[in-house]
């Protein structure tokens, strides 16, 4: 099968040579607060190619989940999309009708959440919940949807699927629940999977298994993935490209291996330096001093400047623009790492 290529530079997409499946442009999300609206996602632009895994990394509170929920149009009541577009194969999800959006959720874009135990309905069996995902989109018999659910359970490595079907979420471990979530997300063969810190609640072995699984599914199903994490280490293991987010905006974006070797933004470098077991002995492990500024109280210039190890005079005054490099990476810094 010949896939149509767009006129776009393939390097910006990074995946195995296809046009972008998801194209987020200038997306902003606002929170309505009593003290007035605050912008938690600020002019974010991202692309995810078909079969590509894009990592979205940043400290807690920088707006990763809000970005993901905005794509799904599942923002909490207090939040709203203030501008921008989210094109899925050319269709703008920001402006699409609610019923069409419902059809897209699950069937074309699926999402896995951080807390597996609370993200499943406690009153229904897990089998029921996976079958429900099939039947939300396809008019198939119960038997067919059960078989599909079974296949999906097997695919994510849940042994003896039929025996697990009748379990309630509280009867399963966190790791199993996360697999059930994954099975539920994949049962309808979506094109894009948004995984919001899906491994944070899990122990290291299970985390590694799930990372392997995602990579395998990407190859088998040509699945695109938006992988969200606050841990650059995890992201670097799985993502083709990485977008680094800080205080609501993208501060650097580029190929994973490239960024790992030569980060440009000082926040990126700080994140990479804080990956455990990279070169330096543990005792020298660096953490970034200070905290992400509150969305309501961001510095006027570079938002990272108060925590930066090499600020220059512009940093406090001028908000740096996202600068594109020749290798299709970009960053937002007045005094980049050389």
């Amino acid at each position: 099968m010949v896939t149509p290529t767009t006129g776009r530079d393939l390097a910006t997409v990074g995946g195995p040579g296809r046009g972008p499946l998801l194209e987020i442009s200038h997306l902003s999300v606002r929170l309505r607060m009593r003290s007035g609206p605050i912008t938690v996602v600020d002019d974010v632009s991202l692309e995810i190619g078909s079969g590509e895994i894009l990592g979205l990394v940043g400290e807690s509170g920088c707006g990763k989940s809000m970005t993901a929920l905005a794509i799904m149009r599942l923002l909490p009541e207090a939040a709203e999309i203030a501008g921008g577009s989210v094109l899925l194969d050319g269709e703008d999800l920001v402006r699409t009708k609610p019923e069409r959006m419902r059809q897209i959720r699950g069937a074309e874009v699926a999402m896995v959440f951080q807390e597996p135990m609370t993200s499943l309905d406690p009153a229904f069996t897990v089998g029921h919940q996976v079958v429900e995902a099939v039947r939300a989109h396809e008019k198939v018999s119960r038997a067919v949807s059960l078989r599909r659910a079974e296949e999906s359970f097997e695919r994510v490595g849940i042994p003896k699927p039929r025996e697990r079907f009748d379990a309630y979420p509280h009867q399963l471990s966190g790791g199993l629940c996360q697999r059930v979530m994954l099975a539920m997300a994949l049962v309808t063969s979506p094109r894009l999977l948004i995984a919001d810190e899906p491994t944070t609640a899990l122990d290291v072995t299970i985390q590694a298994q799930i990372l392997e699984l995602i990579k395998q599914l990407r190859t088998e199903l040509n699945l695109s993935v938006l992988w969200i994490s606050h841990d650059f280490g995890v992201v670097s293991e799985i993502a083709d490209r990485v977008a680094v987010m800080y205080a609501g905006e993208i501060v650097e974006i580029g190929e994973t291996s490239h960024m790992l070797g030569a980060p440009r933004h000082r926040y990126t470098r700080a994140l990479i330096d804080s990956i455990p077991g990279r070169g330096e002995p543990r005792s020298l492990l660096r953490t970034i001093p200070g905290q992400v500024p509150d969305p309501g109280a961001r510095p006027a210039g570079c938002r990272f400047s108060p925590r930066c190890d090499a600020p220059v005079s512009e940093c406090e005054l001028i908000h740096p623009e996202l600068r594109a490099e020749r290798d299709a990476s970009s960053f937002r810094c007045h005094n980049p790492v050389a």
Partner: protein, 310 residues
């Protein structure tokens, strides 16, 4: 589970015994007597003595209590001093009437408060939500006798659509059932709304939406199913309250149920009837309390879990 039922059962039986003593004693020491009512003032002194002797009312209360208990054990509730009907028959016909009225009120309560509460929660701050909260506030604020007067005035006196009192077909049931249910509707409406709202803010709701489940499924099946436990628990409490309110509502509407008969018999010092009916009411309250406990026990997720695992 069995232990739970046993322990609550024993507790209920104890409450029942204590209450029966209180009823028996309370009725006897209340001022006035049967003889005041049934005797002719002219030959009163003689008649009173005679009557009291005949009925055993001159015995100490404690003796009367044990006579009463012995009779009940033998299935003999006695006969009304006033109408000569057997107490068993009064309980049976009155009980059936009260059951109809209470059943109508319970059905009315759930058929109104559950769907309305769910809709109010699903569309917070909409017209439906505000309307249902208005109903809830009014239902709790208006005393039921006053509501009865308003409704009788409007539907029976002015519009002449419904009978003002008495007993007969469905038509006779409507006004008393509405009055009886008003407060229960109000409380249950708020309860359903609050419980569904709480569920709608849970993480799993977002997961359901993320997989493309329809809003109708999310609200009416998943949120509602999880919102049920407090509603079930409240059901027992509600039945108990309804039973208590029949005393007022049946008297206002002259509806010949247990409540009407009880009030009537107490006013006439018809001890045998009053005593038996009071015990029926206590039994009802104890039973509904037990059901409320049981509902709560079954609806509590962690206890259910133990049941499911074992």
């Amino acid at each position: 589970m069995i232990r739970f039922v046993l322990s609550r059962g024993i507790r209920a039986a104890l409450i029942f015994v204590v209450a029966s003593v209180a009823v028996c004693y309370g009725l006897r020491v209340a001022p006035g007597s049967l003889a005041d009512i049934v005797t002719n003032p002219l030959n009163r002194a003689f008649a009173v003595k005679d009557l009291e002797e005949r009925l055993g009312l001159d015995e100490p209360v404690i003796v009367q209590y044990f006579v009463f208990v012995r009779n009940i054990m033998g299935g003999d509730f006695g006969v009304s001093f006033i109408s000569n009907r057997s107490v068993t028959e009064i309980i049976a016909t009155g009980g059936l009437n009260t059951l109809k009225l209470g059943g109508a009120a319970a059905i009315l309560t759930y058929f109104i408060s559950v769907p309305l509460g769910i809709m109010a929660a699903a569309r917070r701050n909409s017209v439906i939500d505000q309307g249902s909260m208005l109903i809830a506030v009014l239902g709790m604020a208006i005393p039921n006798f006053f509501l009865a007067i308003l409704l009788v005035r409007l539907f029976a006196v002015e519009l002449r659509w419904l009978p003002a009192a008495g007993q007969g077909g469905i038509k006779h049931l409507i006004l008393p059932a509405v009055v009886l249910a008003a407060e229960a509707i109000a409380i249950n409406l708020r309860l359903v709304r609050a419980s569904v709202l709480e569920q709608l803010s849970r993480d799993y709701i977002r997961t359901l939406r993320a997989k493309g489940a329809s809003e109708r499924r999310v609200v009416w099946i998943h949120a509602f199913r999880n919102a049920l436990p407090p509603v079930i628990t409240f059901g027992g409490v509600m039945l108990r309250t309804l039973l208590g309110y029949t005393l007022v509502v049946e008297v206002i509407f002259r509806y010949p149920g247990l409540g009407f008969e009880l009030v009537d018999s107490v006013l006439k010092r018809d001890y045998a009837v009053a005593q038996a009916l009071a015990l029926v009411f206590i039994a009802g309250v104890v039973l509904f309390n037990f059901l409320a406990d049981l509902g709560h026990h079954l609806a509590e997720p962690r206890i259910r879990e133990r049941g499911a695992a074992g």
